[in-house]
């Protein structure tokens, strides 16, 4: 897990007992969701704490009736489940907060939230949630448990289970393990975007981009299959694919465009229905200046991946 925890173990530094207990509860909850059983060994394999520490925590949790030991497997009691869900709420709200209000990079959110979930109080989290407009999903697409402990299930299926040609909407990208997550975001897959799958030639494409997934990646992406009769938007590509001389209409901003960046772009007229074309490209090939609503605005490549357009025919305006 986190390097810090690992270092702590290495240096035999005292880790707060309650942190270990909380991590154990969270692990049990996640396993329960996956219908897997948990026991001392599986916890020990997953968490970085010493056997002694884990054992102590389990004894303590059993004692205060958060978990029970039945048939060699550890099961959550109502009390333990409530704590675990609270922990998940803190984690996901904090990730949402990081994504909206700070400049930390995408791949560092999870690690920071892993630390802060033990430090934040419920009150702080509620305040944070209110400020963010009580969001329903975290930036990875995971549902956020409500104040009173309701945790809606994530709908959809993982990409690895899809075995036919179809069009899907990306609902969730799992942020653990970090290496797989990094490989997925490197592909430029965005939550909320539409992806077409040609299973026969195993080609995945989203918003005009072809994606090269590893096998492992597919298990960590959750999608919702769009039905034929539903209106599937067609011809939507990213602004980065617009070429000089072409014209397009903006169809929206990707949900990965967040916080102040999103507001700025909207204020500058990057809204649905605005016409846009390239005016000039920097000599170093990035940024590109776009003509939008009578003004020249330069955007960097990574921003133009967040803006969705539909190209229009030059003659028929």
């Amino acid at each position: 897990m986190g390097i810090k925890n690992w270092l702590n173990t290495l240096l035999l530094k005292r880790v707060d007992q309650s942190i270990i207990e909380e991590d154990v509860l969270k692990y049990l909850y996640k396993n329960e969701e996956k219908n897997k059983t948990s026991n001392f060994q599986s916890i020990n394999n997953e968490l970085v704490f010493s056997e002694e520490q884990i054992d102590k925590s389990i004894q303590q949790l059993i004692k205060n009736q958060s978990i029970v030991n039945s048939n060699q497997s550890l099961l959550l009691e109502e009390k333990g489940r409530t704590t675990a869900i609270k922990l998940i709420r803190r984690h996901r709200i904090y990730e949402k907060y990081l994504s909206e209000k700070t400049g930390f990079s995408k791949s560092s959110w999870h690690h920071k939230a892993e630390e802060m979930e033990h430090a934040l109080t419920d009150e702080e989290v509620n305040l944070m949630s209110k400020e963010l407009g009580n969001p329903q999903f975290d930036p990875h697409g995971d549902p956020i448990p409500t104040k009173d402990g309701q945790l809606p299930k994530l709908k959809g299926i993982t990409l690895s289970k899809i075995e036919h040609n179809c069009t899907v909407k990306v609902l969730h990208i799992e942020d653990e393990p970090k290496r797989v997550y990094k490989s997925i975001i490197k592909q430029g897959l965005h939550i909320g975007s539409i992806m077409t799958i040609n299973f026969t030639s195993s080609v995945y494409a989203t918003e005009g981009h072809a994606l090269n997934f590893n096998k492992k990646d597919l298990e960590n992406i959750t999608v919702q299959v769009l039905k034929e009769e539903e209106e599937i938007p067609k011809g939507i590509v990213r602004l980065s694919l617009l070429k000089k001389g072409e014209k397009a209409v903006i169809t929206g901003l990707s949900s990965e465009c967040r916080g102040i960046n999103r507001r700025r772009l909207l204020d500058l007229g990057f809204v649905k229905g605005s016409k846009i074309s390239i005016n000039m490209v920097s000599p170093l090939s990035d940024p590109t200046a776009y003509l939008i609503r009578e003004t020249l605005i330069a955007l960097r490549k990574e921003q133009t991946d967040m803006i969705l357009i539909k190209k229009i025919n030059n003659d028929a305006e």
Binding site: G133, R263, D267, L268, G269
Partner: protein, 257 residues
């Protein structure tokens, strides 16, 4: 519709009897307070300098005037204080500039807000104009840079624009001192209530959202009867604007007009 075309003589820049007296920065105890708002690059500061005689520099950059500049002038025996707000594209983001501009128009309650727009880029500029008109109902549109627009073969139908926006429109070319007298006269008329504005309100908000906005707006109005910008405050509440939430908690919107 109001009549916003004073006689040719009044608006003539060569009028020897010009009633504009520049006051520079001595602006205590003035009769009226004017806010000057607009997009960056609309010649806003030139208008400001024209009115006050100050030489304020703002470059060909967006967001140059951080903070605000103040000046004053006399017109028709009334003293005016004028505040040059930072040039912004919108009032809904969270940048420092926008906050300064927004807070002044909302809490500073200027008697008149002059909105300077670039006649050659009206569409883009209207984004800000429409937002300001949600906040204040006493405004004058200063259609600046008309000569530049003309060079690009762009003309603006001022009459229709004035009708659509519900506020007087004055065409100017501040750099050449064209239209400034007429602007002053119009501002004076609005300040004294001789011209009544019926500002445009944002239309075609998606229905289901609009319904909810109206509900919040009604609650705000029942709390603060006669508040002219309840709808805009409802917008801000639904956008989670911390400043506005705080202001409501502290009872800032008690209507004193």
């Amino acid at each position: 519709m109001q009549n916003n075309t004073p006689s040719a003589c009044e608006s003539c820049a060569h009028n020897p009897n010009t009633s504009l007296k520049r006051l520079g920065v001595e602006v205590e105890n003035t009769d009226y307070v004017i806010a000057l708002a607009g997009n960056p690059n609309t010649g806003k500061s030139t208008v400001f300098n024209n009115l006050t005689g100050l030489k304020q520099h703002t470059g060909n950059w967006p967001g140059k005037t951080v903070g605000r500049a103040e000046g004053g002038f006399m017109f028709n025996d009334n003293s005016y204080k004028i505040i040059d707000l930072p040039g912004t594209y919108s009032l809904m983001s969270t940048s420092e500039d926008e906050e300064i501009a927004r807070n002044f128009i909302l809490f500073g309650k200027p008697d008149v807000t002059i909105i300077v727009v670039d006649a050659g880029r009206l569409e883009r500029n209207l984004n800000l104009v429409l937002q300001i008109l949600e906040i204040t109902d006493k405004a004058v549109l200063c259609l600046n840079l008309i000569d530049e627009a003309k060079r690009h073969d762009i003309t603006v139908d001022e009459r229709t624009l004035s009708k659509d926006l519900g506020i007087p429109v004055v065409a100017t070319s501040a750099i050449r001192n064209v239209g400034i007298q007429e602007l002053l006269k119009t501002v004076d008329d609005v300040a004294k209530g001789k011209i009544k504005c019926t500002p445009h309100r944002i239309k075609n908000v998606p229905k289901e959202i609009d319904k909810k906005v109206s509900k919040i707006q009604a609650s705000i109005e029942s709390l603060y009867p006669g508040l002219p910008n309840a709808r805009w405050i409802a917008f801000r509440l639904l956008d989670g604007d911390e400043d506005i939430i705080k202001a409501i908690e502290e009872g800032e919107f008690i209507n004193d007009k």
